[in-house]
Subunit: 762 residues, 2 copies
């Protein structure tokens, strides 16, 4: 079939293949289970595109610390679920997708029968708590649908969501002793004392509201809920696991543990009891809000007025199909599973962060209303500025503009007067280096996707990049680099600031603010200040101007870098590869450097040090599982050997992405890894967001049609593409030979056709 | 002068004395220092009538527990200030007036010079912290104005307020090292871990916002602030005293301790540095809100647009004068000081609890808007239903109706579907017994002060009084009394429920709901069910109907009573004294019982057990410092010896109220003790709120004019009244002899004149 389809494509240019299969439901290719084993840190549960609720099983909820010491196992549970686990503790409503540090896991729900157990127990002791064994054989994970049998209780659990409501459907056995547990002690990255406060009101026998306030990665984070039951519970109660309960005024006035509707404390679990017949379905709707329990109720009533689980699931999957249809590809099933699961992971976050009426909790902890835009949160910008937001500028430009509007209100609400660094849920967590909001904003401005106030946005970029108190910025402004004394990641900081500054310059140029352009182009050259020509690497530099003596180009620990060593970061001048190549001794020497990156054999200690990736995530000294090298394979395009870009890209696509639970070699990082896959599979990549150019690589599918929001279609064809046919012999853009190694954003958005002719030989 | 005035009064009935001195500023008679020594538990600081801010010095802020044990000294600091203390730790913005348990003390401010000290230190070690010595010789406490010299720093501190803003004026010496400390660790009744969370944003160099969330008497209480400085601080910083700080994301990105504007944690203190010349005044405006920092900012900008301290003070004192002028009395200076200080204490609480736009935090922890009424909080109803709210029905009827509207929104927001028991700051603290909201509501309905939805209010009373899970109510409904097994205060509960039920019946009758009337009149007879005729006392009764064997009529500890023993509580049938007298063996025996109450000598252990009062607060076995006996002296009115009411009342007035720091023999209890004083001084008292009758006592002044909101005047004259002339020989109402021993509410509100003719002989 592929051949005949290809025939049609080649000879009927007006009739794209995608149009031949308009009804193919792309949801079938989404396999949320991909990446749930080991380092992917994605979750298999239910969510709609950019949904505020991520309802997913947690296989463990272990403490961040044990006996006062960091518990390294907590890292496995960044997304709550590990594929190799044998038990599920419950289903919670908020999850990050692919992060390497974590938070959330709010409002864990667990259905049980038999003796009431209020403690989750431990995995190694079956029956020690309310957790249940499960098996992958009964597990179904689809876009916005998850199903599993809870074996200890013979309960079939099903989950689906709307944007702000998680819907549960539990099919019970016959029991006089059926329970729904609401565990507010549970959470992801549960520090001791992470719960600041929890609060529950049992409004009536089918409605419960409340909130959880935590001090974790989000320092001051509050999530509100409204939980509706499809049938009345017979009785209910609570346990307070707080070490200390201060006020005893309630005691003696009420039995607080049983049928008492007004519960608050630091560590609360609730139970709700039912009697069930065999096959009885108890359904739950859990609505979230960042604003108030009233906001959650509004979301509940607006998004899920009824109890038809199948309808909610269908709505969610139809929505996914519409979103996924923005890129219809011609490829085999494995490739489609990889591609559409990547697109799914790319379209999970940033997440909507407002009630249906636009209300949301701001960074200033005040409730605001989003006027004229949708407010988003979860900005993992160190990761996602590279490819995810550029992908949005093509496939989700309206959302991307709203994400930038969300960054701008963050800026307005920031008492530091800064754009987000890594922000989530009304909190700035300050994670990672650089100020990459500016890249996202500049990319949108340069690419003409700036319906927001672009000059105000540029002002915010300038304010952010001139905050002298922020992580060495004062010294960077004065000296042109961050001195090693100030920061353990001084070189990463310098290089990332320099790139970010270049992106600010590009936006300024587009807006005609040439003084800003000139100033920031000067700053963008600062990468040169941490280049040590004597060794040919970027290197930490002290305040006195000398380079730091002790230095290991392979190590990442406290060597001036973050999630990358000098080898990798020395290639981090995405905005000026030509100059970098010159600095590194010219094209030939540069190619040798790149080649050795991909082929060298590393000492074991290097693997031990490298964060957030499996050993599979490393190719030679190239670490695909971490982001600083995501542009590196494309740098061959700036040399005389672009075929090596094509070869390396295909090798990375094959080695680093598989449609299996362990198919992701590193954290998906809120969609950045997936966005890399999508771009690279389509045959081009944004090496330097803020530029309107995409470097050409090697398309790994037979063809694709991008259905753009402006109504245009951009068609990609890869003639003769195959496992070995990875080399690009010729490229036609709209029928004309393309002699440059990039296409522009304007060319894509204008609609048209990009045809690659592939070969097994370079 | 008094004589000539009396002459005028007697012979010129159309010309009341008050009209002769229309310009006398009554603020001169308010001495907030009265009751600040020992048990009064009032505060000397600044507040406007019913003000949301109570800005007052705290002389210590000691922990509720030390080494895990209750620290009995904390009780002294219910209002933050103890007259005998020698040091002040600072000035905080929220204080209860006269309570016997406590909370609040939010946002302590302390100005200092010299070495920066961030710890309050201890009183016994001068210079050990930022606290300062002070002397009463430099202290001035007026209505809405407080001044003191902070001797350690030679700083003159002055305080005044608007309803929602506390204004500080600190006159500094010359110093290069002047500081304002903002202590958010400090608080009243500071349990370990009472602070759930605190949050500070330094918005700019003159504006700071934030909040404090506590788990104390108010289980889930949050107070927001906006703090404005009259001049920019040079630098600022914070200390985090939390035992544990979870997220370290900020660290390395910023120096969090110095000039970093974004601070959060459990235990935070801030400092703000200045350079001052001799005599420089640094002024602060601290606005509060229950809603948000934005709400506090709104309050700040609306109520205090400028920086004129004297103007704010004058506004506040003018307001006080207007409120106090509602009762103009003819009396000596001492009596006026007692009277107007009592009126001041009566008009302090309940306190306004909403922003200038009507927004307030509801009991459901959701922000609401008060539409068409002012929202109030701090309902110490076990105390204040007795005389304070009845006083409001005369002098503050509009406010009293709004207080009831506030109770009704509390009811709407209550997940228990109950009216307030003891509520403050969006929390129900459930303190004390009974459900006395119903008394306040019934009193207003019966007295025709019910512009609210009276039928809905009655429904709320019914719902509250039929909540079977509440403190023995189910058994009370079934058996007619609270069994001793259920509650350690079973007799108090039964008696108070019975009275409350009677008040519900009265409201129902007024509203024509005769079925409710009948049912609640039946319930009102339940006091008979805890009467043990074999001993002639109310007595704890077991579920099986038998009376509890072990029983001490003098003891209060776990004997079935609260803040009163069997002796006192056996007289607690305020709604049916005649029946009580009959039950107790007739008038003669009843008089003997009453007489012995006032004259008996008690064993020492009784004093040790009695809460909330000094030994001076006890007359025989009559405990005026606690409320259950407040009606008792008036019960002689139902016997043949009403002159004993007159005599006892005057004795109590003299012994229990003095215009000295130690002038209150017990907790003022949010104005109840003061309201008792005001009524009794005027010559009548509401023995059973819910009745429209006031029992006549013995007026302790020469005369009074009550200026009513309806424009009428009610004039009281006491001819021949004097220290010994305490007996009422004759009463004329509007010129007609009054042969009954009460007047009605209608008679007061119609305006008119009540003339007592006093004598030294009964």
């Amino acid at each position: 079939m592929r051949k005949s389809l290809l025939f049609l494509l080649v000879f009927s240019p007006a009739l794209s293949f995608a149009q031949n299969t308009p009804d193919e439901n792309l949801v079938q290719y989404v396999r949320p289970i991909i990446g749930t084993q080991r380092m992917g840190h994605v979750y298999p549960g239910a969510t709609v595109p950019f949904g505020m609720v991520q309802l997913s099983p947690d296989t463990d909820t272990i403490p961040y610390e044990q006996n006062g010491k960091y518990n390294p196992d907590v890292y496995k549970y960044c997304a709550g679920y590990q594929y190799d686990d044998k038990t599920i503790v419950g289903f919670s409503h908020t999850h990050f997708s692919g992060t390497g540090h974590s938070d959330l896991g709010d409002f864990l729900i667990m259905p049980t029968v038999g003796e009431l157990r209020m403690n989750p127990g431990v995995a190694s002791q079956p029956g020690s708590g309310f957790r249940s064994a499960f098996s992958h054989s009964t597990e179904v994970a689809e876009a916005d649908y998850y199903k599993v049998k809870l074996e200890d209780y013979n309960i079939l659990a099903e989950l689906t969501t709307t944007s702000r409501v998680g819907m549960h459907q539990y099919t019970f056995p016959s029991s006089d002793n059926a329970h729904i547990i609401l565990d507010m002690v549970s959470g992801i990255y549960n520090y001791e004392d992470k719960n600041i406060w929890t609060f529950v009101h049992v409004v009536n026998d089918t409605l419960v509201t409340g909130w959880r306030q935590t001090n974790g990665w989000g320092r001051t984070r509050t999530e509100y809920f409204a939980l509706s039951f499809s049938r009345p519970f017979i009785e209910y109660g609570s346990r307070n696991y707080s070490k200390k309960q201060v006020y005893r005024g309630f005691w003696g006035k009420f039995d607080q543990n049983h049928n008492f509707p007004d519960i608050a404390g630091k560590q609360i679990r609730m139970y709700f009891n039912f009697r069930t017949h065999e096959g009885d379905k108890i359904k739950l709707k859990m609505a979230l809000s960042s604003v108030s329990t009233d906001g959650a109720l509004l979301n509940l009533r607006t998004e899920t007025p009824g109890w038809d689980f199948e309808q909610v699931k269908k709505q969610g999957q139809d929505w996914w199909n519409r979103e996924l249809s923005k890129a219809r590809i011609d490829a085999g099933r494995d490739e489609k599973e990889n591609f559409y699961t990547s697109l799914y992971h790319a379209f999970i976050n940033p997440t909507v962060y407002m009630d249906v009426d636009g209300s949301y909790r701001g960074l200033d902890q005040v409730n605001h209303k989003a006027e004229g835009f949708s407010n988003y949160t979860t900005f993992s910008l160190w990761d996602t500025h590279r490819a995810l937001h550029p992908l949005f500028n093509i496939l989700e430009p309206t959302r991307n503009a709203d994400m930038i509007r969300s960054m701008l209100v963050h800026y307005d609400q920031s008492v530091e007067h800064m754009l987000p660094i890594w922000s989530h849920y009304a909190n700035e967590n300050w994670c990672m280096s650089g100020y990459h909001s500016v890249s996202v904003i500049a990319d949108a401005i340069v690419k003409g996707n700036a319906p927001f106030d672009a000059n105000k946005a540029l002002d915010a970029c300038i304010a952010t990049s001139t905050h002298r108190d922020f992580m060495g910025l004062g010294a960077y402004i004065d000296k042109g680099y961050v001195p090693a004394e100030i920061s353990g990641t001084s070189v990463s900081n310098t290089l990332e600031y320099a790139y970010d500054d270049w992106s600010i310059a590009q936006a300024a140029k587009k807006l005609g603010r040439m003084d800003v352009y000139a100033a920031y182009m000067r700053r963008s050259q600062n990468y040169k200040n941490v280049w040590d020509p004597s060794i040919g690497y970027m290197r930490p530099r002290l305040a006195d101007g000398s380079f730091k003596k002790e230095f290991d180009v392979l190590s990442t620990n406290d060597q001036g870098f973050i999630e990358g060593n000098a080898w990798n970061y020395s290639l981090y001048v995405p905005h000026d590869p030509a100059a970098l190549i010159g600095m590194m001794g010219g094209k030939q020497q540069f190619v040798r450097h790149l080649d050795s990156l991909f082929t060298m054999e590393l000492p074991d200690k290097f693997f031990a040090e490298t964060e957030d990736i499996t050993r599979d995530g490393i190719i030679g000294n190239y670490v695909h599982g971490n982001e600083p090298s995501h542009h590196v394979a494309y740098l061959y395009d700036w040399t005389d050997q672009p075929w090596k870009t094509q070869e390396r890209i295909r090798m990375i696509l094959t080695k680093q992405y598989r449609n299996t639970p362990d198919g992701l070699g590193g954290n998906d990082d809120c969609g950045q890894m997936s966005a890399w896959y999508i771009f690279s599979t389509l045959g081009f990549y944004p090496v330097a967001p803020g530029s309107d150019q995409y470097a050409l690589g090697s398309p790994a599918i037979n063809g694709a049609v991008l259905h753009l929001e402006n109504g245009k279609e951009f068609v990609i064809e890869a003639h003769g593409q195959g496992e070995k046919a990875v080399y690009v012999k010729k490229v036609l853009l709209n029928g004309q030979p393309l002699t440059r190694r990039y296409i522009t954003h304007e060319e894509i958005m204008a609609g048209g056709k990009l045809v690659f002719y592939m070969s097994e030989k370079h």
